[in-house]
């Protein structure tokens, strides 16, 4: 029997601000600017929004949306505190809300001044999920994600022979895609040599293995699929969506398998709900906080076998025209860091066939992942249903 939520909801609107390093605007202003664009893109009025799932902590809360958008009757206000897994996991909560009739149109949004405001190691101290790392690891000099995730990357290299050359391929391919997009922070070509020459941050991660700290806002609208059919843009439905939480969720150090992300659980459920498998995916937007994180997720998602993510990304396989084009917008590595909501926006564009020079020909079914908060995971599988 088909899953009760399968294709009951759709991504009906998408919006994003310019992605920059440096802005005079507040995170809230960026979030609202993107939200208004998403509402306009859907052909809706702000008055039609009756559910909000803002990224938290940082940015606006329900009160801000009511005060700024004049929402007449908000029926649902949620936080999905999963770090980088938040935006895709929020699609599950939004789909539940519109499929049950609790809401008609749910706004998922992010606004952040990750470059001109508080930087990463300061910002994370607001997160209760980082309390254990703050108590046991920050005092010995480990706190930033680049440090905490580096140990898992090192283990993968030692166990499977994954190399910096594999990491570089992800960075270089992602940059090539960014250059086609236009709204990106990093618009100059990047070579494998540039990657290898970039300064070491936390071994094995070099500068170009790390995602950007940038300013920007992004938003999407999730509506009931039967209602979204009447809106402005080609219908993009949510075939499958899931979130997953790993063992020892607040401490990577104590996790039995450092490479066991929440995506292991989410992928199984997401594929089952969608009724498709890795072979059916035409394009994938993979959460890329680090190059290695992409490599490991490709294994978890079943695009290759355990430990073979490094060789898999080589030979043009993940580039446009390859077997599995990924991060066709430039991702967090080269476009901008809005905690992966830009990945959802890009996948929607691909399926609407609005992706311009980065368009994957005849894209019908695509996948997007979220990853964050020490290993929480989420994925959504979307389909062009127009």
């Amino acid at each position: 029997m088909a899953h009760a939520l399968r294709e009951r909801a759709a991504v009906s609107g998408i919006g994003e601000t310019a992605y920059t390093r440096g802005t005079q605007k507040s995170g809230l202003a960026l979030q609202l600017e993107a939200s208004l664009k998403a509402i306009e893109d859907a052909g809706l009025s702000p008055r039609d929004i009756d559910g909000v799932v803002p990224y938290f902590p940082g940015g606006g809360i329900a009160e801000d949306f009511i005060a700024n958008l004049g929402l007449p009757d908000l029926t649902l206000s949620l936080f999905v505190p999963m770090g980088g897994a938040t935006c895709v996991a929020a699609i599950q909560s939004a789909a539940m809300a519109v499929a049950t009739g609790v809401c008609k149109n749910v706004l998922i949004s992010v606004g952040r001044t990750g470059y001109s405001g508080a930087r990463v190691s300061t910002r994370l101290q607001q997160f209760p999920q980082f309390a254990l790392a703050a108590e046991f690891e920050a005092p010995i000099g480990m706190f930033a994600p680049a440090q905490l995730y580096a140990q898992g990357a090192r283990r993968h290299m030692e166990l499977y022979g994954t190399t910096a050359r594999h990491f570089a391929e992800v960075a270089v391919t992602t940059r090539q895609h960014a250059i086609l997009n236009g709204n990106v922070v990093m618009s100059k070509p990047l070579t494998v040599e540039d990657h290898h020459a970039s300064r070491m941050i936390s071994d094995p991660f070099r500068l170009f293995d790390c995602s950007l700290e940038s300013d920007g806002g992004a938003a999407i609208i999730v509506s009931a699929a039967d209602r979204a059919r009447d809106l402005k843009k080609p219908l993009v439905t949510i075939m499958g969506v899931a979130e997953g939480h790993p063992e020892s969720p607040a401490s990577i150090a104590q996790r039995p398998d450092l490479l066991d992300f929440g995506l292991v659980k989410a992928a199984r459920r997401g594929y089952a709900m969608a009724g498709v498998g890795p072979k059916d995916i035409d394009v994938a937007e993979i959460y890329d906080c680090f190059t290695f994180t992409v490599i490991r997720q490709l294994e978890i998602l079943g695009f290759c076998r355990e430990g073979e993510g490094g060789p898999f990304v080589m030979d043009g396989r993940i580039g446009l025209g390859g077997e599995l084009p990924i991060n066709t917008h430039g991702g967090l590595l080269s476009q901008g860091h809005v905690v992966g909501l830009n990945h959802v926006i890009e996948l929607t564009r691909q399926l609407r066939r609005e992706a311009g020079k980065a368009q994957v020909k005849d894209a019908e079914v695509g996948l997007v992942t979220g990853y964050g908060d020490m290993g929480d995971g989420s994925l959504a599988i979307l389909r062009r249903a127009a």
């Binding site: 930033a144 283990r155 030692e158 700290e213």
Partner: protein, 142 residues
């Protein structure tokens, strides 16, 4: 990645804020003893400290001194000082160690070249007082 210049006066080391659950661990550190929480009902060890045993759900626990040996599970070499306190020490190795008692400890590994490290390499936990109240762990190879 921030490349902002270091402030004129260096920040202080980030310090642990012990909780009611973790206080015995930090008291042990200060005394040079590696104290770990064990379930009083099923006996299983758990780290980091927390109120409930996830195996048998007992809320009763006791802290016991654990041996100091372990083997390297993974490591990183921190070059970029995300907190400027650590700028003078960079680059420094942080090893994640499978302690013989069955939990992991993340701590600096000193006196060894990162290029020679291997998974499974034997190390031993040591104690470094950094203030009157706080002692932190570090590792040396054996």
């Amino acid at each position: 990645m921030s490349t902002a210049p270091a402030p004129a006066s260096l920040p202080e080391r980030p310090m642990p804020t012990p909780t009611r659950e973790s206080q015995p661990y930090w008291d042990g550190m200060r005394e040079g003893r590696f104290m770990l929480q064990h379930c009083a009902s099923c006996g299983k060890v758990r780290h980091y400290p927390r109120p409930v045993c996830p195996h048998c759900f007992s809320m009763e626990s006791e802290f016991k001194e654990a041996p100091l040996g372990g083997a390297i599970h993974a490591w990183t070499v921190c070059h970029h000082p995300f907190n400027f306190f650590f700028k003078a020490q960079a680059p420094y190795i942080v090893a994640l160690v499978d302690m013989d008692v069955g939990v992991r400890v993340n701590a600096p590994l000193r006196g060894v070249d990162a290029a020679t490290l291997e998974l499974g390499q034997k190390v031993r936990l040591q104690f470094e007082p950094v203030s009157k109240e706080v002692t932190l762990p570090f590792f040396v190879t054996v």
